[in-house]
């Protein structure tokens, strides 16, 4: 019993020491980190695009509200942060200019009111057009610390189909304003909201019951939107099927 007890004790001490050494090295490593900005950002040189509601395929029956309720509910939840009441606390920034504030210890947040999305804000039409069969999809660009897109970035969506699809953009032309850049990170920029673009698919009668594949890209800037491997980089593809 004693010898096996001894070896157990040895292993206990050994692993305790090993754990201690691991903690020490981890602690040393964590000391080298900046709390506001990650050491390396080369793996996120360019932001990805995602849509809300979060689904690869949005398919619903426009005449049955229970059918699309999950989508509209999702959008309402998502837009809580953009409520005008919340956003009014934030600052107004210069349109078309970067909001550089590297020196300030507390970064100000530029306001992006939900109402900017008009028909797609869910304020006037709480079904976001789903009831009419003209669904709104909100496109958002990933937050990347320090990212300053060159040029004038805007979202452009195309349907992968012969006949062109009528698409309406909010804000107009799908513009992503430069004033929302750069982002300074969760720590100092806690209330930051990224700019959104809502696209409303104005589906015609013939488009109903037909699956629409739509691809949206960020254009007009240096942001990548045609990466071979990463299909979410600067673009997003989704399918919409509206039935009656």
């Amino acid at each position: 019993m004693a010898p096996s007890g001894l070896i157990l004790l040895f292993y206990f001490v050994f692993y305790a020491f090993l754990a201690g050494m691991f903690c020490l090295t981890m602690w040393v490593m964590l000391q080298t980190l900046d709390e506001n900005i990650p050491t390396y950002q080369d793996r996120v040189p360019s932001p990805g695009l995602v849509i809300r509601p979060h689904a690869a395929e949005i398919s619903f029956n426009r005449s049955d509200p229970t059918n699309y309720n999950q989508y509209t509910q999702h959008l309402h939840n998502f837009l809580q942060n953009y409520n005008d009441s919340v956003q009014e606390r934030n600052d107004l920034c210069l349109v078309g200019e970067y909001t550089d504030q590297d020196a300030e210890p507390v970064k100000k947040v530029c306001q992006f009111k939900r109402s900017l999305l008009r028909q797609c804000s869910g304020l006037s039409d709480s079904s976001f057009g789903y009831a009419e069969g003209k669904p709104c999809i909100i496109i958002k660009m990933n937050r990347v610390i320090g990212l300053k897109p060159q040029g004038d970035p805007f979202i452009n969506c195309t349907a992968k189909k012969n006949s062109p699809l009528q698409i309406r953009y909010f804000p107009s032309e799908g513009r992503l304003d430069k004033m929302f850049f750069p982002y300074y990170g969760k720590n100092t920029h806690a209330d930051y909201v990224q700019p959104l673009v809502a696209v409303q698919l104005l589906l015609s009668k013939e488009d109903l019951n037909v699956e629409q594949t739509v691809e949206c890209r960020v254009e007009g800037s240096n942001l990548r939107n045609n990466d071979e491997r990463d299909k979410a980089l600067g673009r997003v593809t989704f399918r919409v099927l509206v039935s009656e």
């Binding site: 010898p3 001894l6 070896i7 040895f10 292993y11 050994f14 692993y15 090993l18 050494m21 691991f22 090295t25 981890m26 490593m29 964590l30 980190l33 506001n36 900005i37 990650p38 050491t39 390396y40 950002q41 793996r43 996120v44 932001p47 990805g48 695009l49 995602v50 979060h54 690869a56 958002k140 990933n142 937050r143 990347v144 610390i145 982002y183 990170g185 969760k186 720590n187 920029h189 930051y192 990466d227 491997r229 990463d230 299909k231 979410a232 980089l233 997003v236």
Partner: protein
């Protein structure tokens, strides 16, 4: 003569009536074969034999009868041992031993992939790839070792003598030359000097016929054959000659009594091929190792299976995890490493003239604790050589070494010149033509072994014997026969003015002495007085006691008045003086030990290996050689020696007092198993003399019963059953018979017993080094498994992927693991006892404890550190990682938030994950640097051992370069999903690498400081 020769082989009483023994293994037939030879024809009269075979001893068989017998008995050839078809050999390589583990792994992988494919839309290919790689590894390694062994067997085949044998038979009164295969029982055959005996024959008539039975009995001296039955034992009697032995000289006629597999030789060959051999020690070790590994794998697998169920994974997922963990425990590279290590050693041994037929046998010599060695041809040169001479009342020693480097004696004495003249003239042996370029000792001689010995001795000392014979023309000769026991010839003298004839004579010393009235001392004839006779007797006894065959020599000048020039000497009706001769001296011959043998035996002894001599030769000769080579070491006595020294009867000597013993075959057969065990256990120095092939087998079995790992060396057919039964049979490449080479696992290409020592050394070294290789390879298993375990338990992104694991096991770990096979021994491995196969395992729990529990854990921590560093520096702090797995691996989540609020697409974060895999991989390489350095030694500090292993240093650079290549080569991101690392990430594992080195140096320091202490008991593998 000088031999205390007595009867020997067991007498058979039953007639073997049944047809060729069936090869039913382990059954009655094998026991039957282990019994002695059932020949009775030697006791019958010639007429009876003729009647039995319906033949005639003058006319031979009729052609019709011969044809009938041929159909009945089949051809007169040995059934070749059932050769394993090539594909079976190949399959054995593919599915044997270690491969089973890999096959199981591969099948589990395919199973896991099948489950995934059936349940998921987009199954990860990892399990499929892993299965394919595992299969490929087994197949490639299998092919490799198959070709390796095929190469050895090709060398084997080149030994085979493919010339068909011919035989001269008399059928219907006519002599016909036929193929030896067509000889049938009852055939009357004629053999002459130089022929190979075509079957077992009962001699009908003989003229000076001598046969060399050494391949059958191990007796190096040719024996004469005559029609008379001289012994009850068929192997001893003079009137039977045996299949495949050689007729040295003379002619003989005989009736064939046995053919093919029914011959004595055939029975031995059948016995040999019927013997089943056990597993090699290394195969047992690998089996043990597989048990341990499987145990660990199943334990881990089941534990985490239960844990996965508890954590709420689905059954199917848990099963996939279970399989994954079990497979992760399979050391993919180890099979290849072990094979390459063994092959390297086999190559090294082949360079030192040990050809290994079976790769696994490489290690067996290292574990050997007992060597049973045949005498003739293995320990001795299998060549009669003049060893001593007695003249001028003094014993002189001749040089018996193979290269004539030994001591010489005074050659200026006139007596010596006379002795040399007699020995040269009264000698019928002569060198075969066309060998003038060869050194004298290497030349072939036509003639009897003792005469050849004399011829070579004289040729060496006194120049050309032929020229001497030409100068002294032979005018008459009486050849040696067993009634006279002397040989005599009369020559003209070389002095042309001297018309006297010279009579020279040699023979059994006591017979020669009787013919003499004077003796030559210092070149002068003196009357033979009692004192000189006494002195002669002492010398004769002494030389006889050395196991040597002694011959006496005398001469006289025949008086010219009685025997004038042209006198017609009549050798049949002797019309000249054969007494009143002048005695010159004695010469004694022995088959001397090979020069390197005593040293080799000494080395074996200091390596704790018991060397037993097992020979068919006579006890006195055997004992003399045993003493000569150190098998019976100086100062050790047998029971008989003690009895002689104390002058008491043998029965009063306590057998325990005698360390050495010489056991006669006849005694051996009466021993019970317990008595046998007792002898083998209590005597350290044993010589078995007059043993039959069956008894050799029994001796080997006896040693094995006591737990010894037995090596048997031998060259004759009589050794082959023992060679086969032994854990490792070692046959002689030059002098060995085909049957013995077939039965053996290893072949000494230079017939030198000393090569065995090399084999032992290499075998022990490779065992130690394999331990090191395995310890090294197994260590990296832990950093390979733990990532997966943490992935399951803590739901973190996978730290190390399948591809990177394979890159370690089959890539970076390979060369360093193999390089450990080149490591030199830590201490003198030839000074320690052979390993105990029950205690000293190749892989034991202490090795696992060190490799898995200690070093492996440090390595795993090093890998995880690198993993956390990369993720943290990219924005994912450790706190964020726990539980992130589901979102992390979800393709549709393209905005996963890190600790800084940045959002990542699936592809972006996967690149970080794969960078982590690369960094984990590089970290393992870095900690494996330290691991290979600490694995160099098991006890010594690396500072004592040094870094002289160039292959290992190359290995260190190679693995680093390979790791850098895999990380930085463009295109690797697509091919293997490995990404370039920032230089600083290479250094993450450095502190841990350093820790491993320091930790193990301290451990080994404690180990050396307290031999037998706790550290040694718990950690010395």
């Amino acid at each position: 003569m000088g031999y205390g020769r007595s009867d020997s082989y067991r007498v058979a009483t039953t007639q073997d009536k049944d047809k060729s023994p069936k090869k039913k293994k382990g059954g009655k037939d094998m026991d039957e074969l282990k019994k002695e030879v059932p020949i009775t024809e030697h006791k019958m009269s010639i007429e009876e034999v003729c009647r039995k075979f319906q033949t005639d001893c003058v006319q031979g068989l009729t052609n019709a009868k011969a044809a009938e017998y041929l159909i009945r008995d089949g051809p007169n050839a040995l059934t070749p041992p059932p050769t394993t078809p090539e594909w079976v050999k190949f399959c054995r390589q593919l599915f044997g031993g270690f491969s089973v583990l890999l096959w199981t792994g591969a099948i589990l992988c395919f199973l896991a992939y099948a489950i995934q494919a059936a349940t998921e839309d987009d199954p990860a290919g990892d399990n499929l790839y892993l299965g394919i790689v595992l299969t490929a590894v087994v197949v490639i390694t299998g092919c490799f070792s198959y070709f390796q062994e095929a190469k050895s067997s090709k060398i084997m085949e080149s030994f085979k003598n493919m010339v068909p044998q011919q035989a001269l038979v008399i059928r219907e009164g006519e002599k016909v030359q036929i193929n030896a295969e067509e000889v049938v029982g009852g055939d009357l055959v004629e053999v002459k000097g130089g022929d190979r005996i075509p079957a077992d024959i009962r001699v009908v008539s003989a003229h000076g016929c001598k046969v060399d039975n050494s391949s059958l009995t191990g007796e190096s001296e040719p024996q004469s054959r005559s029609p008379d039955n001289t012994h009850d034992n068929p192997l001893e009697t003079r009137n039977v000659a045996f299949f495949s032995t050689n007729c040295v000289e003379g002619t003989a006629r005989g009736i064939v009594i046995c053919t093919g597999d029914r011959t004595v030789m055939g029975r031995i060959a059948t016995l040999t091929s019927g013997l089943e051999t056990g597993k090699t020690p290394i195969a047992k070790e690998i089996e043990h190792f597989i048990h341990i590994i499987t145990g660990v794998a199943v334990f881990l697998g089941v534990t985490f299976f239960i844990l996965a169920i508890v954590l709420g994974y689905s059954w199917l997922e848990a099963v996939i995890f279970l399989i994954g963990i079990i497979v992760a425990n399979v050391p993919e590279g180890l099979l290849a490493t072990v094979t390459v290590c063994l092959t390297l050693t086999a190559k090294r041994m082949a360079k030192k003239n040990c050809l290994v037929k079976n790769l696994e046998a490489v290690e067996t010599l290292g574990s050997t604790s007992t060597i049973c060695s045949d005498k003739t041809g293995t320990l001795t040169q299998n060549r009669m050589t003049v060893a001593h001479m007695w003249f001028d009342n003094q014993i002189h020693e001749a040089d018996t070494t193979e290269d004539q480097s030994g001591a010489s004696f005074d050659k200026s004495s006139v007596t010596w010149l006379s002795l040399a003249r007699v020995a040269g003239l009264c000698n019928r042996a002569q060198f075969k033509a066309g060998q003038d370029a060869l050194p004298i000792l290497k030349r072939d001689v036509a003639g009897d072994a003792s005469e050849s010995a004399l011829l070579k001795c004289i040729e060496l000392c006194c120049g050309s014997v032929r020229a001497n014979r030409d100068r002294n023309k032979k005018v008459a000769e009486i050849p040696f026969n067993s009634t006279n026991k002397y040989q005599l010839s009369i020559h003209e003298t070389e002095d042309t003015n001297d018309n006297r004839y010279l009579l020279v004579m040699k023979g059994a010393p006591e017979r020669i002495l009787d013919c003499c009235s004077t003796i030559m001392v210092q070149g002068k004839e003196q009357p033979m007085d009692e004192e000189l006779k006494e002195s002669f007797q002492n010398a004769y006894m002494e030389l006889g006691g050395l196991g040597e065959r002694v011959l006496g020599f005398c001469h006289t000048m025949l008086a010219e008045d009685q025997y004038p020039k042209g006198f017609a000497f009549d050798t049949d009706d002797v019309n000249f003086q054969t007494d009143q001769l002048c005695f010159i001296g004695l010469m004694s011959m022995i088959d001397p030990p090979r020069a390197a043998v005593p040293d080799a035996v000494g080395k074996c002894r200091s390596a704790g290996i018991k060397v037993i001599m097992v020979t068919g030769d006579h006890p006195i000769t055997a004992k003399a050689i045993a003493k000569g080579v150190g098998i019976i070491s100086e100062g050790n006595e047998t029971v008989e020696d003690i009895a002689a020294r104390l002058n008491i009867p043998v029965s009063q000597v306590n057998p325990r007092d005698a360390k050495a013993c010489v056991i006669h075959g006849t005694d051996l057969k009466d021993l019970s198993q317990d008595q046998m065990d007792d002898i083998l256990r209590n005597h350290t120095e044993i010589v078995f003399a007059r043993t039959s092939p069956q008894q050799k087998l029994i001796i080997v079995e006896g040693c094995q019963r006591l737990g010894a790992i037995v090596a048997v060396t031998g060259d004759g057919v009589n050794d082959s059953p023992a060679l086969k039964k032994a854990d490792i049979g070692v046959a002689m490449g030059i002098s060995g018979s085909d049957v013995s080479k077939q039965a053996a696992d290893m072949i000494l290409l230079d017939d030198n017993f000393a090569s065995i020592v090399t084999g032992v050394e290499e075998g022990r070294l490779i065992f130690d080094n394999l331990k090191k290789s395995i310890a090294y390879t197994l260590t990296s298993n832990i950093p390979e498994i733990t990532p997966f375990l943490l992935f399951i338990c803590a739901n973190i992104p996978l730290p190390l992927g399948t591809i990177t694991i394979l890159c370690i096991d089959l890539g970076t770990d390979m060369v360093p693991a193999i390089s450990l096979a080149y490591e030199t021994a830590e201490s003198d491995i030839m000074k320690r006892q052979p390993r105990n196969p029950f205690r000293d395992k190749l892989v034991n729990e202490r090795l696992i404890s060190i490799a898995y529990g200690q070093i492996g854990m440090i390595q795993a921590v090093a890998g995880f550190f690198a993993y956390f560093v990369i993720l943290a520096e990219n924005g994912f702090l450790p706190s964020r990682l726990v539980g992130i797995r589901l979102n992390w691996d979800d393709r549709s989540v393209n905005d996963l938030e890190d600790s800084y609020g940045q959002q990542w697409t699936y592809e972006q974060r996967k690149i970080v994950e794969f960078t982590c895999h690369t960094a984990f991989f590089v970290s393992i390489v870095v900690v494996q640097w330290a691991d290979v350095i600490i694995c160099k030694t098991r006890r010594n500090s690396v500072f004592q051992q040094g870094m002289r292993n160039k292959i290992l240093i190359f290995g260190l650079f190679e693995e680093t370069a390979l790791a850098a290549f895999l990380s930085y080569c463009p295109g690797m991101d697509v091919a293997l999903r490995m990404y370039p690392l920032k230089p600083s990430w290479w250094f993450c594992a450095f502190p841990y690498s350093f820790l491993i080195f320091v930790y193990d140096e301290v451990r080994k320091l404690l180990l050396r400081r307290n031999p037998g202490g706790w550290v040694e008991r718990e950690t010395y593998y």
